[in-house]
Every structure is written in C-alpha cells, then in structure tokens.
Symmetry: C2
Subunit: 135 residues, 2 copies
C-alpha cells in the first residue's frame, strides 16, 4: 500500500481528496509501523493548526474500513499502520517502537475443525516484545 494506491481507493469509494487525508497517508507511509491516534494528532497539529479530533478519528476509522490501514488494540489504545500485505497474516509487534514483523503461519484451519458448533467470526494472533533495534 502506498499513498497513490490509497487515494485511488478513496476516489473509487466516492470519498473526497483532501490535503489532510494525503498528509495522514504520508505519515503512515513514512512511519511504516503501528502508531496511535495521538501520534498522528501530534504530526498533524504541526502542519495544520487547530485540526480537530474529529478529523483524526473519522479518517482513521475510514481508512481502517477501506483497509488502507490495519489496526489493533493494545493497552486500551487503538493502533494503526499502513496495510502491509494482501494475504492473511499476523504480526510480531514491538512494544517500544511499534515496528511489526509479519507472521505467515496461522493455526486457524486446524482449530476451526475442533469448534464444530461454534460460529467463528474472526481471530487475533499477535506476538508482543522488543524488536532487534529496541533491545
């Protein structure tokens, strides 16, 4: 995923192109790791004085829906990063810097068989720790 592709997805879905949206995408493309709404707000406030929470959160939710971003929830805070692959995968997540490492192994197929009468909607498999740089 890159800014160009993301703006195409937005246009396709009938959303407007704004400079704030482009900035948000640039932020996530540059960072390429999990970042919080607060992190984005700090970045945006430096560029757009008086930007509102509404703009931050509305766009984060929108981009998440459109799968331009992927999200997770850690210690009571939602985190977002630029969508990193088009196939099913999981992540190692660095608790210090938010960097992720893709994990392609997923045990769901095996497990689904054992949950016969259960309706499985989704699942979360994440590994937490410190990346090589942070420890």
């Amino acid at each position: 995923m890159n800014t160009k592709k993301a703006l195409a997805i937005l246009k396709e879905a009938g959303y407007k192109y704004t400079d704030k949206r482009e900035s948000i995408l640039t932020f996530f493309e540059q960072e390429d790791r999990y970042r919080s709404a607060k992190d984005l707000l700090d970045y945006m406030e430096a560029r757009y004085e008086g930007i509102s929470f509404d703009t931050i959160y509305r766009n984060l939710n929108l981009f998440d829906e459109l799968e331009i971003l992927e999200s997770t929830e850690l210690d009571g805070e939602k985190l977002y990063q630029i969508s990193c692959a088009d196939h099913h995968h999981h992540h190692f997540i660095c608790r210090t810097c938010g960097v992720t490492q893709e994990i392609d192994l997923c045990p769901m197929d095996e497990i689904a068989k054992k949950l016969n009468n259960y309706m499985i909607e989704d699942h979360k498999f994440e590994i937490y720790g410190l990346c090589p740089v942070c420890h």
Copy 2:
C-alpha cells in the same frame, strides 16, 4: 479455581479476607465466562449500596495479578473470568455471552524459531464468534 482456593491464595500473599472479595469471587465462579468491570459493579451494587469503583477495579487488578482471574481486552474494555486451567492455553470467546472454549493448540514454539533476533515477551491468540447457544 474456586472461591476456597482463591481465598487461600489471597491469605498466602498476605491480603485480607473481606466479604466484598468473597462476593467478587462468588460472582465469577457462578458466571464462569468473561465479564466486565461494569457487570461486576452491577452485581456488587445490588449487594453493597455505595460500593466504589475503586474497590471493583482494585480487586480486579489484584485478582488478575494473583492469577485468580484471567483477563483479556475486547472492544476497549477489559474482561475477566475465573482462571480456568493451570496450563498454557487460549480461548474461543463468544461475543454475545462471553462464554469461552479452551484451545490447547498454540503455534508459538514454531514461531519463536523464526523470530531469532526478537525478544518475545508474550502473545495473544483468541478466536471470536458465537457459541452454540448464542447462534
């Protein structure tokens, strides 16, 4: 885990025995599924007029630390249930009623090998959906 064993753990760790703590344990023993702080508060308020948030949250955190309860975080809310096994395991969790089904399969051993330079602290593997009763 049952109330008796939990009270023994409390005593062992030097914590006091109070009727509120016993009530909290009774609640989770009866429920035997993930419940929120709010659920517990409702239960406790019916029994102890004017019980404070502090008592609810302090004891939830304490019981979680002592592994009398196990916890997870779902949709921005912490959930707790009575500790259900003494070996490593994961859960299917029903989104409607909070009932859990133990999953003994864990792919971490295989994955740890692939994350050579990473310091792995912990991991979360949860399956969400509807239990046989709720769908």
